[in-house]
C-alpha cells in the first residue's frame, strides 16, 4: 500500500504493495483495476465503432437508390453508436470514480495510522493519487486488449441485428492507445482525488476512532453534486413535453441518468434509512446486529448501493421510456389511420385498386430515399432521408390530422411525420433525379414513431422513378359491401393486422437498440455492483472476528452479512426505481403533449429479472466474501492489534 520502494539492499524496503498486504487489500486493488479495465474497454470499443461507422465508405456498384439507402443506414448506425458511446462514458465515469473513492474510504484506518506516525496531508494525497495513477494505467493497459474483445462482440451484435452491413468490423486507430490510457488515468485520479482530499483532511485520531469529522456522511461536495443532478433531472422532466417527439424522447431518456447520480449522491442519507425499513427475515439478535451495522456503516452501504441504483435506473428508465414511446407511437399511428385494408406492393397502384368494385378510396404511399440540402454557403448541410410520394387529397382522407395537405398545390412538398424537416425551401434529389429547390409547407404533424420526413405530391415525380419502389396502399371499403378481393395487387392485410405487424417490427427494433445500448453497459454496471460488495467486505475481517468471539457462529456471521447486503441491495433497487420513476413522469407528460394521450409501458418483466439478477449476484458475492473473510480462526485476527 505504500509507494515507498526505491530501497537499496541495506535499506528497509517496502514492496508495492507489500506482499502480505495483498492478502488483505488485493480485493480493493483488483476491484479498482477491474473497474478501469472494463470501463476503458467499453468506451474504447464504442468510440472505435462510432468512428468506423462514421467513416464507412459507400461500396461501389450500387444503384442510386441503394446508395441513398446505404447512407441512410449509416446515419442511423452513427447516431445509435453515439448513444452507445454516451452510455459507456457515463457508466465509466460513474463506476470508476465511485470505485476509487470507495477503496480510499475503506482504508481510512490505515491512512490515519500513517498520519499518527508523522505522515503529512500532502504525503497521504500523493500516496493515494500515485496509487490511482498506477492502478488507472494498469487498468487501462488491460482495458485496451479487452476493448478489442468488446468491440468484436458489439460489432457482431450490430451485424446480427442488421444495423450495419455484413462486412462491418470495428477498425483500430493508433491514437486510441493514448485516448484509452488517458481515459483510465483521468477517471481513476478524479475518483480518488475527492476521497484522498477528504481522507487527508480528517484528523488522525477521528479517523482512528471513527468519530468527529470522520463520521460525517454528507460532505459539501455530495450535496452540491446531488442537488445539481436532481435539478438537472427535474429540468429535463419539465422541458421534455415541450421538446417535440424526438427532443422530448431524448430528454426523457436522460432523466434516469441524472436522477440516478442524484440518488447515489444522497445515498448516505437515503440508503440506510430505506434499508432499515426492509424486513431482513432475521429476527432476534441477528436482526438487531444487521440493523446496527446498517446504521454504523452508512458510507459503506451507500457505496455498495450506488451502482445498484444506477443499474436499475439506467436499464429500467431507458428501456421503459423506449418501450413507452414505441407503444405511444403505435397508438398514435392507429388513431391516424382511417382505412380497412392495406395492400403492400410496389409502384403507384392506387388507380387500379380504386377501380375495384367495393373500394371507396385508396391512398398509395410510395417510399423513396432522397438526399436533401438545406441552408446555403457555410451552413449548407446535406442528409439522406426517406420521402413518401402520395396523393395529398387521398392521404388527408386516410390519415386524420393531416388535413393541412388539402390546401397544397402540386408544386409544393409537405413536411412528413418524421418531423426532421421544417417548412421553408429545401433542395431535394431523388436517386438519379434532381428536383431542385422545393417549397416545403407544413403538412403532417410530427409523429412519435417518426416516419418519412417529406411528402411529395405524385405529379412531381416521373412514374419511372416509382414503379419499382415499395408502396403501401390504404384502402377504405364502401360501407355495406363485402371486402373486395385485392390479392392480385399485392400482399393484403386488414389494417388491424398490418398495424399489429408494424408494431411488432417497431417493438423488436427498439428492443434490439436497447440491447445494443444497454446490454454491455448493464453487464459492466453489474460487475461494478459485485465489485462494490467485495470491496465493502474487504475491511470487515476484524469486525466478523469480533462478532464470532462474541458468540456468533460462522454461519450466523455469514447470514447477518447476507441480510445486510440484501437490505442494501433492495434499498439501492428502490432508489433506482424512484429515479426511473422520474423518467416515467417525463414520458407520460411528453406522450400526452405530443399525441394527446399519456402512455406508459413499464417493463415489469425486465424489472423482475433485473431485481432477481442483482439480488442473486450481491447475495452470492456476499456469502462468498464473508465466508472467505471468516475462514481464519477469529482469535488469530484479533490477536494482532493493528
Amino acid at each position: 500500500m505504500l509507494r515507498l520502494a526505491r530501497a537499496g539492499a541495506e535499506r528497509v524496503s517496502f514492496g508495492f504493495p507489500p506482499r502480505e498486504g495483498i492478502a488483505e487489500r488485493w480485493s480493493l486493488f483488483v476491484g479498482a483495476t477491474l473497474s478501469v479495465c472494463l470501463g476503458v474497454a467499453l468506451v474504447q470499443s464504442s468510440l472505435l465503432l462510432l468512428i468506423t461507422a462514421a467513416t464507412m465508405d459507400t461500396p461501389g456498384g450500387l444503384s442510386p437508390t441503394e446508395r441513398l439507402r446505404f447512407d441512410d443506414g449509416r446515419t442511423a448506425a452513427v447516431s445509435m453508436l453515439g448513444v452507445v458511446m454516451g452510455g459507456a462514458a457515463f457508466l465509466a465515469i460513474f463506476i470508476i470514480s465511485s470505485t476509487f473513492a470507495f477503496t480510499v474510504d475503506q482504508r481510512r484506518r490505515d491512512l490515519a495510522l500513517l498520519r499518527l506516525v508523522g505522515g503529512s496531508r500532502g504525503q497521504l494525497r500523493r500516496l493515494l493519487l500515485g496509487e490511482a495513477v498506477l492502478l488507472g494505467t494498469l487498468g487501462a493497459g488491460l482495458g485496451i486488449p479487452a476493448g478489442l474483445g468488446v468491440m468484436a462482440v458489439q460489432a457482431w451484435l450490430m451485424r446480427r441485428m442488421g444495423f450495419v452491413p455484413d462486412g462491418f468490423h470495428g477498425q483500430w486507430r493508433m491514437w486510441i492507445l493514448g485516448a484509452s490510457i488517458g481515459t483510465g488515468l483521468v477517471l481513476a485520479v478524479a475518483g480518488a482525488m475527492a476521497a484522498a482530499h477528504r481522507a487527508a483532511r480528517v484528523r488522525p485520531l477521528d479517523a482512528l476512532r471513527d468519530s468527529g469529522e470522520a463520521t460525517r456522511v454528507m460532505t459539501a461536495g455530495r450535496w452540491i453534486l446531488g442537488l445539481l443532478f436532481l435539478g438537472g433531472a427535474l429540468a429535463l422532466a419539465i422541458v421534455a413535453p415541450h421538446g417535440g417527439p424526438a427532443g422530448g424522447q431524448a430528454m426523457a431518456m436522460n432523466v434516469p441518468l441524472c436522477a440516478a447520480v442524484a440518488a447515489a449522491a444522497f445515498g448516505p442519507l437515503l440508503i440506510p434509512a430505506v434499508a432499515r425499513l426492509i424486513p431482513t427475515g432475521t429476527g432476534g439478535p441477528l436482526g438487531s446486529l444487521t440493523r446496527a451495522n446498517l446504521r454504523d456503516g452508512r458510507r459503506r452501504s451507500a457505496s455498495v448501493a450506488a451502482p445498484v441504483t444506477v443499474l436499475v435506473a439506467l436499464v429500467l428508465g431507458q428501456a421503459g421510456a423506449s418501450a413507452s414511446f414505441t407503444t405511444s407511437g403505435i397508438e398514435q399511428l392507429r388513431r391516424t389511420t382511417a382505412a380497412d385494408l392495406v395492400v403492400e406492393s410496389s409502384g403507384p397502384i392506387g388507380e387500379r385498386i380504386a377501380a375495384v368494385p367495393g373500394v371507396a378510396s385508396a391512398s398509395t404511399e410510395i417510399e423513396l430515399p432522397a438526399q436533401i440540402t438545406t441552408g446555403a454557403g457555410e451552413d449548407r448541410e446535406t442528409s439522406t432521408i426517406t420521402v413518401l410520394v402520395v396523393d395529398f387529397a387521398a392521404y388527408a382522407r386516410t390519415h386524420p390530422g393531416s388535413e393541412a395537405l388539402l390546401g397544397l398545390d402540386h408544386r409544393t412538398a409537405a413536411t412528413g411525420p418524421g418531423g426532421d424537416i421544417s417548412a421553408g425551401t429545401t433542395r431535394v434529389e431523388l436517386p438519379g433525379l434532381d428536383l431542385g429547390d422545393l417549397p416545403v409547407a407544413a403538412g403532417v404533424p410530427a409523429a412519435v414513431s417518426g416516419g418519412a420526413d417529406l411528402l411529395l405530391p405524385r405529379g412531381m415525380v416521373p412514374p419511372a422513378q416509382l414503379t419499382s419502389a415499395p408502396s403501401a396502399t390504404f384502402v377504405r371499403v364502401t360501407p355495406g359491401t363485402a371486402l373486395p378481393d385485392l390479392t392480385a395487387h399485392g400482399k393484403v392485410s386488414t389494417v388491424d393486422r398490418w398495424l399489429a405487424a408494424d408494431a411488432e417490427t417497431r417493438g423488436s427494433t427498439s428492443n434490439k437498440i436497447m440491447v445494443l445500448v444497454l446490454g454491455l453497459g448493464a453487464l459492466y454496471a453489474l460487475v461494478g455492483v459485485v465489485n462494490s460488495v467485495v470491496i465493502g467486505a474487504a475491511a470487515r475481517r476484524r469486525e466478523f472476528a469480533e462478532a464470532r468471539v462474541t458468540g456468533l457462529s460462522r454461519g450466523q456471521v455469514i447470514r447477518a452479512a447476507l441480510a445486510e447486503s440484501s437490505a442494501v441491495s433492495v434499498a439501492g433497487i428502490l432508489l433506482g426505481l424512484v429515479a426511473a420513476g422520474g423518467a416515467f413522469i417525463a414520458v407520460l407528460n411528453t406522450t400526452a403533449a405530443v399525441t394527446g394521450t399519456a402512455t406508459l409501458d413499464p417493463p415489469w418483466t425486465l424489472f423482475a429479472g433485473l431485481t432477481a439478477t442483482i439480488l442473486l449476484a450481491t447475495g452470492v458475492t456476499s456469502v462468498i466474501t464473508s465466508w472467505s473473510a471468516t475462514r481464519e480462526r477469529p482469535v488469530l485476527l484479533l490477536g494482532a492489534r493493528e
Partner: protein, 246 residues
C-alpha cells in the same frame, strides 16, 4: 508563565479545557488543567475510567485541540499550530504508543518501525532500524508481521516505532493495558531504562504497579488534577487511587 518553565518542562499545560458534545450533553473531559511535566522524567497519569486521562494525553500530544488554555510541548507552543506544524511535531518531537498497538498489519516489524523515518523523507538503514528493535528485545523478530507476534511483542514494536525518531517526549496510553504481567514488566523495564537515559515519558495507566515505576504520578478526576505523588511505591499509589475512586 516564564520562559524557564517552557524550557525545563517537556510538556506544559495552562488552563487547558476540552469539552465534548453540546448543551446538556456536554462533557468536560478535561477541565482547566495546569500541568508541567519535567524534561527527562517519567510521569504517570492515573484516575477512574472516564476521568479524562486519554483526552489529556491527546491534548498534550497535539492529537486533540484544546477549547481553552495553552499547550507547550518540548518548547513549542502548539495551541494554534496548523496541521503541517503538528505533522512536523509528530515526526520529530513526539512518539505515541496506544493501548491497542495500532501497528500496520501488512508491514513487518522492521517496516513498521522504519515507517516514521520514511515519512520524514529518510531512507533508514536496516542496521539503524534493527538496533532500535534490538533495544526493545526483538532483534530476532524483524521480519515478523503483527499477527505473528505476541501482544507484548507487538507493543514493543509500537514503542520502537515511537522511539525511532528519538522524540523529545514519548506519550503512552495504557501501554500495558492489554498485556499479561510478564509482558507488562518487559515493557515497563524498557520504559524505565529509557527514562533513566533521559527520555521524557508521559504514561496513562490503571495499574498502580506500573505507575510506581514512574518518577511521579498525577491523579485525575472529572477532568481535573486532584493529587500528585512522587517516588511512591505500588502500595502507596494503590491507596491513593482507591481514595480518589471512592
Amino acid at each position: 508563565m516564564t520562559t524557564t518553565v517552557q524550557t525545563t518542562a517537556a510538556v506544559s499545560l495552562r488552563g487547558v479545557t476540552r469539552t465534548y458534545g453540546r448543551g446538556s450533553a456536554a462533557i468536560r473531559a478535561v477541565d482547566d488543567v495546569d500541568l508541567d511535566l519535567p524534561r527527562g522524567g517519567w510521569t504517570a497519569v492515573m484516575g477512574p475510567s472516564g476521568s479524562g486521562k486519554s483526552t489529556l494525553l491527546h491534548l498534550a500530544a497535539g492529537l486533540e485541540r484544546a477549547d481553552a488554555g495553552r499547550v507547550v510541548v518540548a518548547g513549542t507552543d502548539i495551541t494554534d499550530a496548523g496541521d503541517q506544524q503538528l505533522t512536523e511535531l509528530r515526526r520529530t518531537r513526539i512518539g505515541f504508543v496506544f493501548q491497542s498497538f495500532n501497528l500496520i498489519g501488512s508491514l513487518t516489524a522492521e517496516q513498521n518501525v522504519a515507517l516514521p523515518l520514511r515519512l520524514a523523507g529518510r531512507a533508514p538503514r536496516r542496521s539503524e532500524v534493527r538496533s532500535v528493535l534490538a533495544s526493545v528485545g526483538l532483534a530476532d523478530r524483524v521480519r515478523h508481521r503483527p499477527r505473528e507476534l505476541s501482544g507484548g511483542q507487538q507493543q514493543r514494536v509500537a514503542i520502537a516505532r515511537a522511539m525511532v525518531t528519538r522524540p523529545d517526549v514519548l506519550f503512552a496510553d495504557e501501554p500495558t493495558g492489554a498485556l499479561d504481567s510478564t509482558s507488562a514488566r518487559t515493557v515497563l523495564d524498557l520504559l524505565r531504562a529509557m527514562a533513566d537515559a533521559g527520555q521524557s515519558i508521559v504514561m496513562v495507566t490503571h495499574d498502580p504497579g506500573a505507575a510506581a515505576r514512574a518518577d511521579a504520578v498525577v491523579f485525575l478526576r472529572d477532568g481535573r488534577i486532584v493529587d500528585r505523588l512522587a517516588g511512591a511505591d505500588t502500595h502507596a499509589v494503590a491507596e491513593r487511587l482507591a481514595a480518589w475512586e471512592r
